[in-house]
């Protein structure tokens, strides 16, 4: 950043051009946020409000979306509802106001848990493999290094559907179809390329002198790796882990083709949240909002390393 500030110091843009640029950028940012804001607003609307025309910006917030998301509900006759004991939860109350009763928990929580387990599992594995390979590529003379690195990167370029056909057959054969382990291994294989490339960049930046001093002091290579390199690379490891986490969290193509129940993650589940007569938009919006919040947090945490992450570590700063 410091060089960037210096770079234009002499030809600093005028106050007027800064003002115009700022205005356009703010307008673009606000416009591009509208779909997201709409997701969060819809999550708190009642079903009739969510499909009102003209679209409602001001409405009285309800828990309908969240209740329909976490529960399966069914329609009952008013007589039957009147015969029930008084409602015990907010969702009971919300459902009964619409002549519905809560029949039980929905599949959303198991799917969300699958997303968490698979995302964190594959992230841990890809960062572990990545940091080892990255260290070796960064510090040792490996024959055919460039070819190996290209090979590793090229695996990420494969179209997921093209890979899915044989993986589907292979997993069926190995008994890994629709299992969390299968998905963790698959996402690790996709993420390890990013992990190796990013971490190699971070480790390249750690001066070799630190390790050499440690080796002179009688550390073995492995000790130097563990006690000198790993702590120095901590920021890079965290940034890499967040990138892997985001990919695994967001992934859809493999999930929709290779999982159906047991190991299904949230993205293929959300489109099938249906209410009476089509998609239950407040519930879909509530699920989408819950699903997106972690990503929003991570984006803010990552903002300094975003550029690095999306270019496989090639562009720094």
């Amino acid at each position: 950043m410091t060089t960037a500030t210096l770079a234009h110091s002499v030809v600093e843009p005028s106050g007027k051009s800064k003002g115009i640029a700022g205005t356009i950028i703010v307008i673009y940012a606000v416009l591009s946020m509208i779909p997201l804001v709409w997701i969060f607003l819809t999550a708190f609307k009642s079903p009739p409000d969510s499909i009102a025309y003209p679209p409602k910006v001001i409405f009285s917030p309800t828990m309908d979306g969240a209740c329909n998301l976490f529960n399966t509900i069914s329609r009952q006759t008013p007589e039957y509802i009147a015969s029930l004991p008084p409602p015990t939860s907010i969702c009971d109350k919300v459902a009964r106001a619409r002549n519905m009763v809560v029949a039980g928990p929905s599949n959303f929580i198991p799917r969300f848990v699958n997303s968490l387990v698979i995302a964190f599992g594959s992230t841990a594995l890809s960062v572990l493999l990545g940091v080892m390979a990255a260290y070796a590529f960064s510090r040792f003379r490996v024959p055919g290094k460039d070819d190996l690195l290209f090979f590793i990167l090229s695996t990420r370029m494969m179209p997921p559907i093209a890979v899915a056909i044989p993986v589907y057959l292979m997993y069926r054969w190995l008994g890994l179809s629709d299992t969390r382990l299968g998905m963790i291994l698959l996402y690790t294989a996709v993420n390890v390329s990013l992990s190796v490339w990013l971490l190699k960049g971070f480790i390249d930046e750690i001066p070799r002198e630190y390790e050499e001093a440690a080796l002179v002091d009688g550390y073995t290579r492995l000790q130097a790796f563990r006690k000198v390199v790993l702590p120095q690379a901590a920021t890079g490891i965290v940034a890499t882990a967040i990138f892997c986490l985001i990919f695994a969290w967001n992934e859809y193509a493999f999930a929709v083709l290779l999982t159906s129940g047991q190991a299904q993650t949230t993205p293929p589940f959300i489109p099938f949240i249906i209410g009476e007569g089509g998609q239950d938009w407040p519930a879909v919006a509530a699920a989408t909002a819950l699903f997106l919040v972690p990503i929003l947090v991570f984006t803010v945490l990552l903002r300094k390393n975003l550029l690095r992450g999306i270019t496989f570590g090639a562009v720094r700063k």
Binding site: A4, A7, H8, V10, V11, A21, G22, I25, A29, M33, P35, L36, Y53, P55, L128, L129, M132, A133, A136, F140, V142, L148, I152, L153, S154, M157, M158, P159, P160, I161, A162, V163, I165, P166, V167, Y168, L185, T188, V192, V196, T220, L222, Q223, R226, Y252, A253, L257, P267, P268, I270, V284, A285, T288, F291, L292, F298, R303, T311, A314, V315
Partner: protein
Amino acid sequence: MSENTVPLTIVEHAVRATPEAVARRVRGLSDRAIAWLFISPTILLLLAINIFPLAWTIRLSFTNFRANRPNAKILGLGIANYVSVLTDPDVWAAMQSTAHFLFWTILLQTLIGFSLAWLVDRRFRGHGFWTTVILVPMMLSPAVVGNFWTFLYQPQIGLWNYAVQFLTGVPAASFSMIGSVKLAPWAIVVVDTWMWTPYVMLICLAGLRSIPGYIYEAAEVDRASRWRQFWTITLPMALPFIMLAVLFRGIENFKMFDMVNLLTNGGPGSTTEVASITLKREAFEKWRTGYSSAFAIILFVTVFGLANIYVKALNRVKSR
């Protein structure tokens, strides 16, 4: 980390127990051993989950195998599958949809992304915060967001149609972005552009910031106009970065599946059926495994060629 500690301590003990002269040799040797020890798990995983399946796909692409009939007799067909993929009008229609999608998304994203980067580079007050805001869409799940856009595109009640009516007077109920043959290809272009323009912006911004200030100073001394400075300094020097962004978006959008699958599922008819959607239909709906394997290999070779160029571009940017 815990998997690491056990072999680590064994190695440590071994090193401590060996006499100095041997230890030096072991240490010298062990660098190489460590290198392979550290790299091989990654390579093995990729061989198992990427290369082995790829080899399997290649083998299947020469047969009439169908995954839903595992016990049927498998016949070798030679290159017949490849011939039928390349002569299939449906495949060419899919390629045309992909080309339309690629051309317009890349054009719009590059133009808007570069302009935004150029504006952000004015460094007005609060540019850091607003840049982060702009970047948010590209971090989101294309599938989940694509699904929500079907709501924004609803003809009667959707926010998009309402906005169009508000701005142009065209009645909101009179058109359907997803349902109409004419508009659906644009519906996916709009969502992709919304999501990925920030990506192009971010890379272009890095390009603009990599231009050293003294070049502009020299241009000022020579009294070159701002317009001339833009065409002779800014654009050429940022070009490798723009190319990098274009290539990466090209590869990603050539493979596009998730957002389109949920937004239009290739419809109406097959107007937005991009290559990956056709492949999904052939492989997982019609179960023509041999045929779709051949199609997958053709797509893969194309992407692999693009990836090759991409890595060259990466290295060129890196040397800056």
